[in-house]
Amino acid sequence: MNMYSYILRRLLYVIPVLLGVCFIIFIIFNVVAPDPAYVLLGRHATIEQINQLHKELGTDLPFWNQYLNTVKTAFTFDFGSSWSSKQQISEMIKAGAGPSLTLTVPLFIITFIVSISIALLVSFYRGGFIDKFVLLLSIAMMSISSLAYILFGQWFFAYKLGWFEIAGYEPGFPNFIPYTVLPVLLYLAFSWGPDTRFYRSMILDEVYQDYVRTARAKGVGELSIMFKHVLKNAMVPILTYGIIQIPMLFLGLLLAESFFGIPGLGNITIKALNTSDFPVIKAMTILSALAFIVFGVITDVLYTIVDPRMKLK
């Protein structure tokens, strides 16, 4: 099979997966979720109003019809408007993407730089004290709950020490910076551990390859081996690992956004859950599923391009 037909095949695979995603979403929100009319109509609702609203929302249609509507949404990207705020959902997503990205992109980049630097350092001293200490520290820091980091960090660093803004957000560079530094650092505190460990093992995989031994036997310096050979070769799994995380950037940071009052996509989702705003939740789910699928395809394709050893399946 050549590469183009492989890529095409992988791309076409998006369709059945998206249909499956739609089916699960349909089951969740059209079949088992509580009737949204009750929340939307408030505390003085009447039966007549509820029936009227069902008609308006299309929740009185037969199930097959509702499923078709869900599928239509997923393939046309016409998410309609929110039930509670009546805004166009595409507008809401555009508005929320900015704040989320100002959190997740720096976090992604910083985590990547920090983890890879530490991984290089410890692989250089593999088996030594630094290696053991950093490994233990990384495990220790990832053993604490993210909620505990946020609660403590906000109280201690933002309030007690007054180093950061406690909560809030202002759009536009550089206005957002004071608000995003603390959440980014707190997330870094528990996300560098796993990443460092992964990169370390990828680098060590290469360190024990024959070509490294050959190079060393030839008298090439350790540093030059590390950067010229090992890092270059370990880059393949490291980059794929990075790419597969990208879809997650668009989801925003659920806990941090609600604690630090950042109006990102994570926040929009939580708000939608609290107001039974199903079209918004559906849109967020479909989009993130799509992102996962697409980036999955990209990773696979990249892998086959950069690493010819991988067989096309």
Binding site: Y13, P16, V17, G20, V21, I24, I25, I27, I28, V32, A33, P34, T104, L107, T111, R126, G127, L135, L136, I139, A140, M142, S143, I144, S145, S146, L147, A148, L151, F152, W155, Y159, Y187, F190, S191, G193, P194, D195, R197, F198, S201, L204, D205, Y208, Q245, M248, L251, L253, L254, L255, L273, I281, M284, T285, S288, A289, L290, F292, I293, G296
Partner: protein, 300 residues
């Protein structure tokens, strides 16, 4: 980025040497001869024993009793202080170990069963069966984790069972993927061809011959699922989907979000500490297991 942490320790996909009894001896040897893993193992055993004792009512049975005024700080009398109802935070912390161990065990078992069966069936039979199972888990894993959790809570209502099931059914995908790959490799090995030659059925071949040979993958995965389930319980509690009617570290941390600003830090500290120890122990143990069971990384 929390979801990333669960997918990090992907064992290498290179071929492995056939595991044997000596491998298990080797594992035991590695763990008991490394001080750190030894301590970690003891910690895990300690928590399991504690959980057993609390569930039989021998320890911390009276955790719900009022032992002093509300929000007393830690002192000689109230180790770890008291909570809003004047209950001992220490006893709650102990009692919550039971919840944590239960969540860890049940979740890992559920994900083990689903992941192994689906993965083995897909890898073994291949073809259309494989296509369907791969489609199923791709679809499943494309939907954000917490959306599925909420959906399950919609169907089942709140409660401890929901926590078990929702964490269990959302954490099998990784294992399923690995098992599928391993089974694919192993089904063409000599030993399994030999098994077919003597007339072993599919069922027998999968469960008697192939699975025992990839058991190290299952064990490593079990320890990972265990610790990440304990961590996920905190997020569930924050979303209001946590366990009810008995203490858990998650609800303790969730409570402390209101208490911290008034200076009540002990509930957060106690729950975080208790959780930290067992998760840390599991992480260390998981590493030791992987080093011992995964010959590729041996000696690194």
């Amino acid at each position: 980025m929390t979801a990333v942490t669960t997918t990090t320790n992907i064992p290498g996909t290179n071929t492995r040497t056939k595991p044997s009894r000596s491998m298990w001896q080797h594992t035991f040897h590695t763990i008991t001869h490394d001080k750190l893993s030894c301590i970690a193992l003891l910690v895990v055993i300690f928590y399991f024993v504690l959980a057993l004792l609390t569930s039989t009512g021998l320890v911390a049975a009276n955790w719900g009793a009022e032992i002093g005024p509300a929000y007393s700080p830690p002192s000689a009398q109230f180790l770890f202080g008291t909570d809003i109802f004047g209950r001992s935070v220490f006893l709650k912390m102990i009692k919550a170990a039971e919840t944590a161990v239960a969540i860890g065990l049940v979740t890992s078992l559920i994900s083990l069963v689903i992941g192994t069966i689906l993965g083995a069936v897909a890898g073994y039979f291949g073809g259309i069966v494989d296509e369907i199972i791969v489609w199923f888990y791709t679809t499943f894993s494309s939907i954000p984790f917490f959306m599925l959790l909420i959906a399950i809570a919609f169907i089942m209502g709140k409660g401890t069972t929901t926590v078990f099931i929702s964490l269990g059914v959302t954490s099998w995908v990784g294992l399923c993927r690995i098992v599928r790959g391993e089974v694919m490799k192993h089904k063409d090995r000599e030993y399994s061809q030999a098994a077919s030659a003597i007339g072993a059925g599919h069922y027998r071949k999968i469960f008697k011959h192939i699975l025992p040979n990839i058991s190290h993958v299952l064990i490593i995965n079990f320890s990972q699922t265990f610790e990440s389930a304990i961590k996920s319980e905190v997020i569930l509690s924050y979303l209001g989907l946590g366990v009810q009617g008995r203490p858990s570290w998650g609800t303790m941390i969730d409570d402390s979000k209101l208490e911290l600003a008034r200076g009540v830090w002990w509930q957060l500290a106690a729950a975080t500490l208790a959780m930290f120890l067992i998760v840390l122990a599991f992480n260390i143990l998981g590493d030791a297991l992987r080093d011992a069971l995964d010959p590729k990384l041996k000696g690194k």
